[in-house]
Symmetry: C2
């Protein structure tokens, strides 16, 4: 790997961490340069604009998410086990095990859901992919006979996402120590209803 690519990785690691806390808009080139001990212009040369930096951050975060959540889940046995694995790894991601600021996609979604442009477009693409993945994992649970045949996979995806979003809200904002336990309960109830 060339020198440029390796420092770019360092930059994106730091940028992703910062953006998970202050958002993609709050992520500023000056502070990012300071944190990576680079000059503002030296850092800027890696990306030709701030928008392109934001896009790269999203792509970088997506890779991490796939590596740490999606792939480990798909390694579990098909059906309910796999759905459980997906939930557990995803919950750990939201808890902030990976990024100090928690789920960067949730933060970005709130920021950009009313601001058209390439960043929003990429984010929408990623989140649609995620919904498709969840639905697909659930669907294999149907074919395995673990879940009811009439169950709607996208209904399940939206419900599961809701459990995670509510967990983030209760745990990270309100600081409720029961949040995780409640999320687990909701998940069990969701599974029970699908069986």
């Amino acid at each position: 790997m060339s020198k440029g690519d390796s420092t770019k990785r360092v930059i994106l690691d730091e940028a992703t961490e910062i953006a998970s806390k202050v958002g993609l808009q709050g992520l500023t080139i000056g502070t990012l340069a300071t944190r990576t001990e680079l000059s503002k212009s030296g850092l800027f040369a890696h990306f030709r604009s701030k928008e392109s930096l934001q896009l790269d951050v999203l792509r970088h975060a997506r890779e991490r998410f796939v590596d740490l959540v999606v792939r480990p889940a798909l390694a579990a046995p098909r059906g309910e086990r796999r759905v459980r694995a997906l939930f557990e790894h995803w919950l750990a991601w939201c808890r902030g095990d990976v990024l100090g600021g928690g789920c960067i996609f949730t933060a970005a979604a709130a920021e950009f859901d009313d601001q058209p442009g390439p960043v929003r477009d990429l984010l929408v693409n990623d989140e649609r992919d995620l919904a498709d993945t969840v639905a697909q994992v659930f669907r294999t649970g149907i074919t395995e006979g673990h879940f009811r045949a009439e169950a709607d996979p996208y209904q399940f995806a939206q419900d599961l996402h809701g459990i995670l979003l509510a967990y983030i809200h209760s745990a990270r904002l309100l600081g409720d120590p029961m949040a995780e336990q409640r999320a687990a309960r909701s998940f069990e109830a969701l599974l029970a209803a699908a069986r």
Copy 2:
């Protein structure tokens, strides 16, 4: 009402609308002055700092939320009917019937959940109050005999919040036309499990 108070209301109406789209950080004094056709300094004089403007916006939004969601819900008959009313008015709020950018609290929560300070503190207070209100409304449903006595009101509050958050995500970000119908289904399932 004095002149100052009336223009302040106009300012806060516009500010709340803007902040629901671009967030409390994205809300800038310059653009707010332009939109209200005031000078930057003239507008600034109403608030002594940007932080105090953000606090006032949150307080203003809270009043609207209480008027348009909480109070109408409490006007419904105790028990399940009241829970349904709360859900429906809250859903309309999230849909953007009131503010073009949707739920300003959700946007602010994502922005400030990792940024300590008075704004975050006020937001946490408001959201805790909301959770208490939801739990209390559900509790009266228990005493009315509509819901199981062992049901956990705060579990219900977190679950209901999750349904709304997932709706916002699916509808406003992904543009899924089925989002609202799915939210309604989730709500019915949640009620059914509580009975």
